[in-house]
Every structure is written in C-alpha cells, then in structure tokens.
Homo-oligomer: 174 residues x 4
C-alpha cells in the first residue's frame, strides 16, 4: 500500500452522484464537488499524479480535468484495463502501484487488477465485495478525496500534508 | 414472474427524483442517473426490451432513450394502459408478461394490469399498496435498475448476467 | 377547516428546496417537483383554485404556473397579506377560508391571518411555532401536495378524489 | 463575541454544497439557497455588513452578491488573511471583531485569526477541530444563516430581529 505511485479515478458515480442533467436542446451537465479538488492537490504535494479514465466522452470532464490540472485524461474508454496498462507502461509503473476508485460493473476488471481498489458506499453489492476499501460516502460527496485522505492517514501522511499546505499558504483551483 | 418478456418504465419520479429544472428562457432539464443504464443493459443481455411510457412530451426523454438505445419510447401519453396494450399486441405479448414501474396516480391503472408492478419507496401510500414490489430506493436513485436486479435475483440470474458482462468486457452507454 | 375555498402557496422553499441555480451569463434555474402537480389537480377536482404568491419576480415561476394551469399568480410581491386580501375580495372569500403554506419570515404575517397555515418541516423554528400544520417533508419534496393531501384526508376526501381521478382516467400536466 | 462588527463568508461548501455544475459549452452553475439571504438581512438590521471572500473567480458569485446587496466581495483570492486584514483596516476593525465561516483547508488560516470562527458540520475533521462553532447543517443547507442566527441567539437578539422585521413588514431579495 505504501507503494502507490498513481491514483486513477472513474468519474460518473465517483466524482458525481451518477446524475446526468439533460436539457431540451442537446446540452448536458454534470455536478462535480469542490471537495475532490483537495484530493488531487494532496497527491500533487506528494508528486503522485491523478489520472481519469471514463467510459463517457464529453467536454464536461475535459474541462474539469483542465481546471484541476490533471494531465492524464482518457475519455470514451471501452477497455479500462488496457488504457490503465498503457499508462502504467508509459510511466514505468506496475498496476500493483496504482490505486483505483470506481463504482460500477464496467470498473470491476480494473478494480481487480490494481494494488489498491475502492468504491463509494452506494455502489452495487457485487462491486463492494470486490474492492479493498468501501469509502464511507456516496459518489459526488467527495468520495475521491476521502479515498486519498484515507490512504494518507494509513501512511501517517495526512497531518503532514495539511501542515505543508498551510505553510506555503497557497490557493488552488477548486 | 419468470415469464416477464418486456419491462416498461415511467420516467419522472422513477428515472428522476421528480425534479423539473426550469430556467428563465423556456429551457428545462431533467436529472437522470447513470445507474439505471445498467438495468437496460442487463435486460438486453437477456433479450428483454425496455420501453418508456411517459405523460410528458419532451426531447429530454427522447435523447436519454437514444443514448441507451431504447427503441420503444412513448411520449405525451394520456392513456398508459392503451399504449402498453398496443405495444404488447405488436410484440405478441400479454400484459401479464410485462413488468412496469411507476410512481404516481397516473400509473395506477397500468400498474394494476401488468404481471409485475413496482414503485420507488417514496411513492404515495395509495400507489404503494397497489404494487407487487416497493423498490427500496427513491426515484432518481437507481430505482429502475434495482427493479431489474431484484427480478434477476429472484430468478437466480443476477450473478450470471454480471459474469456474462465481465466475460465480454464490453463497455456500454451510461 | 372544512371551509377552505382557496389554497395559496409560496414558491421558494415550498415548491423548491430553496435552491437558486445561477449560471455565468445571468440565467437562473429553479427545481420544481412533479409531485406537487397532483396537489393542484386534486384541488381542481374539488373546484378549489390554487394561487401563487411569491416575493421573487421571475419567468421561471410564471412558466411553471402556466404548465399547471394556475391562473392566480402574483410575482414580486412585497406585502403578501395585502395581495392575498385583494384576491379574496375579488373571489368573495374571507382570509379564514384560505389555506396558506410558506416557509420563512416573509410568510409569517400571512400565515397568521389565514384559516389554515402550514410550513415544511425544515422551516425555521419561529415559523414552525406559528403554523397550524408542520408538513413532514422538506420544501421541494412535495410539501405542497402533502399539505393538500392531509387536508383531503382530514375531510375524508382523499380516497374519493383518487377514485374520481381513476374513473376519468385522464392525464394531467406534471 | 458581542463585539462582532463584520461577518465574512466563504462561498463554495458554505453557501453551496460544494457542487460545481459544468455543461458542455463552458458554462458553469452554482446552487445557492434562499435561506442564507435572511442571514444577510438580519445582519443588515443590526448594521453589521457581510463580506464574501472566495478563491473562485466567477460572475456567478458576483451576481448573487449583487442580488443580496453585499458590497464587500472579493473573488479569486489567493491569500484570504491578507484580504480580510485589508478590509478590516479600511473599516477600522480588528480581525477579532470579525466572524468567519469557511469549510476547507484554504480557510484554515483565516479561521484561526478571527474572533469567531465556524464551519458546516460536513467539513473535514481537521477544519472542525480548529473552529469555535460547528454549524449543525451541511454547506448549501443554510449554514451561513444558521451561523448568523446562532450568533443572534447567543446575544439574545434573534427574537428582537424577527419582530423588527415583522413590524416593518418589508420584503427582501432572496
């Protein structure tokens, strides 16, 4: 667990509550939670990159990733294991050095391959029983951040990271 | 119950929490839940079609149906029993081979005619007491998917369907 | 209580959860709940009109009222008691024949004057202690409909109204 | 505590639930709660100004502030302590005469400097343990108003303010 060098995250149902807002003219919205932005920041302070892998293909996620300065963003992915493996190869990592959080059946195969797997507590039971950690909040309520913070806590890093953040007194994109 | 050959679903209050978002210029939004998309997919793997019958007449629902590749979509319906009966005739089915989930008084007559009826647990009491199953989530929280999954479980099909999905490792529209 | 001849309702915090969605360009949204539409319909079946009195002045509410065919709509109201009194005079009613539901301090004076007053259960304590009925749902979760249904129940009219609705098998705007 | 002469508030996670709604074309929305508007009004009746300091830089907050006639609005702030100190200097106040509510790590330094600090109850534990008051509602559920009302209650001012509001029977922007 101490060896996690990359966090990968699903979007719908993890960074959101699964909600997809459709309007009458073809536009769509997703509701993100500013809380998750601190998770990305905390990892950055540890030089651990965050990657997004989602089956959806939409500019909504692209813009969110840009705001949080997430470089590794994979949209419209059919085979999440393949994409994650490719990324690991590029970064000279093994999947066992990856932490992944997803919430549904299309995440199951990747969840079964990474070193540390998690899902929000409102995921289906057949997802819950296949992950290392069930994060005690729903998707969209900061599940990604809680995943990161639990990882930091288990490695006795959370207090240090918070303090490091306070010392530099920097702001960050939410 | 083993004979269900068609799932029909209401939209507002089942696929949504009943929310209707109005803006200032005449546009409107509905919030769907990606969770329900797996319900449609699971039925597809069993060659059971999903149909939508709603009293509302809006492109919002049409687009959602297109994304999930639902072919049978009836908008602006005044008489749900008549429309469901017509559809059954076309598909050579009887209403007793249909499962229907709805949440309000305009669903009551159809709920009383189908082989398997359900409503989300936040439906009014006079709806709840007239259905076979009260699904233990609110409308908009994946009530349709839970309806499908409970049906699969009762027929010992859920594990098989999840496994079949994993074997083909396919993605699907959410 | 049997003498209620007009239902008046506040909008923000009653038909909505108080949410005001602002975008970047000056547009705004409110989230209504289709559940409340049946409240308006039930009253119509009893020939009891519904009126809207709100401090906000926005086309959002106007359009919602039009969809539900509510004729008495008062927007941008500063003095709710004055507007309600005027409406009563026009309809030859007394304020004691009016039922009103509101949720905040700008509703207190009118709540104190009508024959039957109510608020959603998440209203402030100083509103709650001044109304006849605390409706056991939050604003936006169908509080208006529950208000109407409780009134019908207390007058042994709810079963009859539901049956009357079913007999005519009509649809209605949600 | 009786000496509070200025209320400062964070926005995301306090006036909202942290939700950031992104659409496909670059537009964004925030969901405010009309409940908080009464907090601003109550303070106005006591001649206590409300100020907004937020790390985000968006017209959304500007428009909300304009509607509620909040004059002191600081957007895109990197150093909240510096901005709050500047404002205090301009108003001839000390930070010990300021009440501040924020919900996350970028609020911690300012929370540690003001006379009265608070956060919504869903803030992270390392924020909660550094504030004077944990407000018993979530961000977006009227946390700012509850902060103001608790302050008024502790100073035996709430009943008087409500009564003063009723006596003038004025409306206010929500």
């Amino acid at each position: 667990m101490e060896n996690i060098k990359l966090f990968i995250t699903d979007i719908d149902g993890v960074w959101t509550d699964g909600g997809m807002y459709y309007d009458q003219s073809g536009n769509e919205l997703k509701k993100f939670n500013t809380s998750d932005s601190a998770g990305v920041l905390f990892l950055k302070l540890l030089n651990i990159p965050t990657a997004i892998i989602t089956g959806e293909n939409t500019d909504i996620v692209k813009r969110r990733a840009e705001k949080l300065q997430i470089r590794h963003v994979f949209l419209g992915v059919k085979d999440k294991v393949a994409v994650a493996t490719d990324l690991c190869n590029r970064l000279n990592l093994d999947l066992t050095e990856v932490a992944y959080i997803g919430d549904d059946i299309n995440d199951l195969l990747l969840l079964g391959r990474v070193g540390l797997s998690a899902c929000p507590f409102n995921a289906p039971s057949y997802v819950k029983k296949r992950v290392d950690w069930i994060i005690p909040v729903r998707g969209g309520d900061g599940a990604f951040r809680q995943f990161v913070e639990r990882y930091l806590e288990r490695n006795n890093l959370l207090d240090e990271i918070v303090q490091r953040y306070l010392n530099q007194n920097s702001s960050f994109n939410q």
